[in-house]
């Protein structure tokens, strides 16, 4: 059971990693990267390292993507913002 879940998660991980590099839209790429980090956090939990899981969820899915969004806003990439 556990190995089945792990295999599904790893397949999702690879699909997310490929999707990040193949999407043209940077906004979608950042959101897929958030998904990648969340899956990675679950995998850390299954590998019995919960402290890494906490850090991955907080940094990878939270703060990192906020910083990416801010950078996209700074270079006027997002629509709906000033001069977007």
């Amino acid at each position: 059971m556990s190995t089945g879940i792990q295999i599904i998660l790893l397949v999702f991980l690879i699909v997310c990693a490929l999707a990040v590099s193949f999407t043209k839209n940077l906004f979608i790429a950042v959101i897929v990267f958030m998904g990648y980090s969340s899956i990675m956090a679950v995998i850390w939990l299954l590998l019995e390292s919960p402290d890494l899981a906490i850090t991955e969820a907080a940094v990878g899915a939270g703060v990192d993507s906020v910083l990416f969004f801010l950078t996209l806003k700074k270079v006027h990439y997002l629509k709906g913002t000033r001069e977007g």
Partner: protein
């Protein structure tokens, strides 16, 4: 003398005495200027764009090369979980056997990174501090890199922050931010008892601060978190860490002399220096995370 000769022919003629510069001033005025080789003109955008096929080939080749190197290295790694691995040596046994006794922490990871290898963690905290200082250098606004247009945009943003109604974000921020920050404080304070510690708890607190700042605007954050508090907390945390660990290293890293009380393992006030060190690291990381956000949005904390 009118036709062009190569340098070697000129030299030969001069040695033979056939050619003498009689009117030097006239020669200097009339001689053709040397053409400077303009590298920048040669590397124009058309030149770079013309080579798309080469770049495609090179990028694919380099990627394949690196993927091959990484896969061959992964192939040579020892099997996951094999008891005969080189990582399963006497160091790990020693940590597991006498870790609780020597550090007083029930969380072995905290005991390792904040007691046995506290110097590495100090370096990591310094790296974070240096990173945020570089962002301050690049993005912090002052009179010289700040135009009137940006000033006006900033004022408009502040106006929107104060007057725009964003009920979902604001009510969510009001309800969630205290809980997130409380959870972060719990993770930091229980760093030596349960999984977690300074880095993870600090990032959670930083995420809570970012949520609050994005809901209520930076003006409201500045009532309790200014650039002054930011620098004070960062530098104070680093100096406290440095002082604690300097004392420890000065006494031979065994806490000889005045021994720090270890307490009973499993209690909240135990494990010697690990709790204060965790608090220092957590404060530095939380300030750094919020500092990144604030500097990226407004260029000011």
């Amino acid at each position: 003398m009118g036709e062009k000769k190569s340098v070697w022919e000129h030299l030969k003629a001069w040695v033979d005495g056939e050619e003498v510069i009689l009117d030097a001033d006239k020669y200097i005025v009339n001689r053709s200027k040397r053409e400077k080789k303009n590298w920048r003109r040669n590397f124009s955008m058309e030149y770079i764009r013309g080579n798309v096929k080469l770049y495609r080939f090179l990028s694919i080749a380099i990627s394949v090369l690196f993927i091959g190197i990484m896969l061959s290295v992964v192939n040579d790694l020892p099997e996951f979980g094999n008891p005969a691995n080189p990582a399963d040596n006497e160091v790990m046994e020693r940590y597991l056997e006498s870790g609780i006794e020597e550090t007083g922490a029930t969380n072995f990871v905290a005991g390792m990174i904040l007691d046995y290898r506290a110097f590495d963690t100090f370096g990591e905290a310094n790296v974070l501090f240096l990173a945020v200082m570089c962002v301050v250098l690049l993005l912090k606004k002052d009179q010289k890199n700040y135009s009137a247009k940006e000033e006006q945009e900033n004022r408009e943003d502040d106006f929107f922050d104060e007057n725009e109604k964003r009920p979902i974000l604001q009510i969510g921020g009001k309800l969630l931010a205290p809980l997130i920050i409380l959870y972060g404080i719990y993770v930091i304070l229980n760093g030596h008892l349960s999984p977690g510690g300074g880095f993870s708890g600090g990032t959670i607190i930083g995420a809570g601060l970012i949520l609050y700042a994005s809901a209520y605007g930076q003006k409201k954050m500045q009532t309790f978190f200014t650039f002054r508090t930011f620098t004070l907390i960062c530098v104070g945390g680093l100096l406290t860490y440095c002082a604690c660990k300097s004392y420890s290293f000065f006494t031979g890293a065994n806490h000889v002399g005045f021994e720090i009380p270890k307490g009973i393992p499993g209690h909240i006030l135990s494990a010697g220096f690990i709790l204060p060190l965790n608090i220092c690291v957590g404060l530095i990381v939380a300030c750094t995370m919020y500092g990144f956000y604030a500097l990226f949005t407004k260029g000011d904390i």
